[in-house]
């Protein structure tokens, strides 16, 4: 690990402006992703700004009947919150399907959204990777691709976003609230928050340098039956190969998003509208334009079946 200075930020605006002044600075929240990457020197910040003391750890009701989840709310607390369990079950379920009890106790709402890919070549500093070193090339393309993306990929990167929580946030139409270094705040719809890799796979989100996430807001509950179905190589404590978040209503309408298949949670409006027509039509629309390799083509079949399982689960 590279040496770094450590400081505790006192206000969100102060944290953002400190980070903007120093391109080698990083915020640290739970540290469960950042420290892992720092040990491998994939991340090499020279200045760590601890945001744990910013009092962004509350879950509050919003004026329009939704919930405002502080950026520092731990994954355990969010999953266990009574309002979330009752009205946003898909979010509780997605959180509880991720990582381990120990990790969820530390992991934060913002840190979870910003966790980086688990592409094995991204983790192997001996191999070229456009995400680590822009322009170096992608070792996954033509390499071992079983875990990689099948949708929204580019010639530069075929990595997936590993978060379970983000898939539920996508199906719930959450928005990400931020403060910029100049003190200006904004709200970014979750659909626009994570980016596709394109030619700049190292630019993963809509955040600008120094911009701090202060909260994630959920609109008022939409009702319906919620389910999160995650398929992985072991029954617990493993990342998704494919996951499905869904909310279904009695009349057959609903929403669906996929995890484990793209650089961001994958949701297609036309697929949502096709829900009353059944799984076949939905998965055709969701998976349209997929680009697979012989090693990850199984994800298409798996996604269709996981969709069926999630819908059955929601109805049960």
């Amino acid at each position: 690990m590279k040496a770094f200075t450590y400081e505790r930020a006192r206000t969100p605006a102060e944290a953002a402006s400190a980070a903007a002044k120093d391109p080698t600075a990083r915020f640290i929240a739970g540290g469960t992703n950042l420290l892992d990457l720092m040990k491998l020197e994939i991340e090499t910040p020279r200045r760590l700004i601890d945001v744990n003391g910013l009092r962004l750890d509350k879950i509050e009701a919003t004026k329009d009947g939704g919930l405002r989840i502080g950026a520092l709310v731990r994954n355990t607390d969010l999953a266990a919150d009574k309002r979330v369990r009752k009205d946003y079950g898909v979010l509780s379920r997605a959180l509880l399907a991720g990582a381990s009890g120990q990790l969820r106790n530390k992991a934060t709402t913002a840190g979870n959204l910003l966790q980086r890919t688990r592409c094995p070549y991204f983790y192997d500093t001996n191999m070229p990777c456009n995400k680590r070193t822009p322009g170096a090339g992608c070792s996954a393309i033509g390499g071992f691709t079983r875990s990689h993306a099948v949708l929204g990929t580019s010639e530069a990167c075929i990595a997936t976003h590993p978060s379970d929580m983000a898939v539920a946030m996508r199906v719930l139409d959450a928005s990400v609230e931020t403060v910029k270094p100049d003190g200006v705040t904004r709200s970014i719809p979750i659909a626009d928050f994570h980016r596709l890799p394109g030619n700049t796979p190292h630019v993963e989100t809509a955040l600008t340098p120094g911009e701090l996430i202060t909260a994630v807001t959920l609109p008022k509950p939409v009702g319906g039956m919620h389910a999160y179905h995650k398929v992985r190589d072991r029954a617990s404590y493993a990342f998704a190969l494919v996951s499905v978040a869904t909310i279904l209503h009695k009349d057959g309408s609903g929403r669906v998003a996929l995890g484990g298949v793209a650089h961001k949670p994958w949701r297609v409006e036309a697929a949502d509208s096709a829900l009353p027509q059944g799984i076949k039509s939905v998965s055709e629309l969701l998976l349209a334009g997929a680009k697979t390799t012989s090693q990850n083509a199984f994800k298409l079949t798996l996604a269709e079946r996981a969709l069926g399982a999630a819908m059955a689960q929601a109805r049960s």
Partner: protein, 214 residues
């Protein structure tokens, strides 16, 4: 209490080294300014097993290394050092965490409990006794992490924190073997003592019937 004796490079040594090089080369009298890769030191005070400890540490020191290398509390184990095995599990302010993925300097004022704080050979914690009774280990390397985790798992169930296998998110929680297995999944046992671990925890929880153990 100052615990700087254990540091390979104490703050005083660094200051002295800085002063010496300053005298020779006119360099600034702090170690960190000497080269960009020089360690940055910071002070932290927390309670470990009820005892107040103050350390001056390289900011890079994980809580795990602070406990093992600086405080010589070697009960907590380092398995993977990357959050993947649970051997380093300790309890901080009542919640279990992986001490390998947490910086020591981020624990100012925290109360940390390690396996040494849960029980002692002449006064075992009920979970320690149950692990012995049920053979909840073979080599024992994962055991301190398993037991710290198990202690927190029972508290989490009491506090109503649901799990991935909880059938109804709005119902009261039950202690079942399925629940224990899922909640303990962050603790890997390379010897595969899992079924005995679940039996040991189940006995302490008092809620598992023989049938539920299967």
């Amino acid at each position: 209490m100052a615990d700087t004796e254990d540091l390979s490079l104490s703050r005083r040594d660094l200051m002295a080294a800085g002063a010496a090089s300053a005298a020779i080369a006119g360099a600034p009298a702090t170690a960190s300014a000497a080269t960009p890769d020089a360690p940055h030191l910071a002070q932290v005070t927390f309670k470990v097993n009820g005892q107040k400890r103050s350390l001056t540490l390289d900011t890079r020191t994980t809580l795990l290394d602070a406990l093992r290398e600086h405080l010589r509390l070697t009960g907590t184990k380092k398995g993977c050092d990357h959050g993947q095995c649970g051997a380093c599990t300790v309890i901080v302010d009542g919640r279990r965490i992986n001490s390998c993925l947490s910086l020591a300097v981020m624990h100012e004022g925290d109360e940390i409990t390690t396996i040494e704080g849960l029980g002692a050979p002449d006064k075992l914690h009920p979970l320690q006794a149950a692990f012995i009774k049920h053979d909840g280990y073979q080599c024992g390397y994962c055991t301190p992490g398993q037991i710290c985790s198990a202690k927190a798992v029972l508290d989490e169930i009491k506090a109503g924190v649901p799990s991935h296998v909880t059938a109804d998110l709005t119902d009261a929680l039950k202690v079942t073997a399925e629940e224990l297995r899922e909640r303990m999944s962050g603790n890997i046992c390379r010897c595969g003592a899992y079924s005995n671990i679940v039996e040991a925890i189940g006995e302490v929880a008092g809620g598992l019937s023989k049938g539920e153990m299967a």
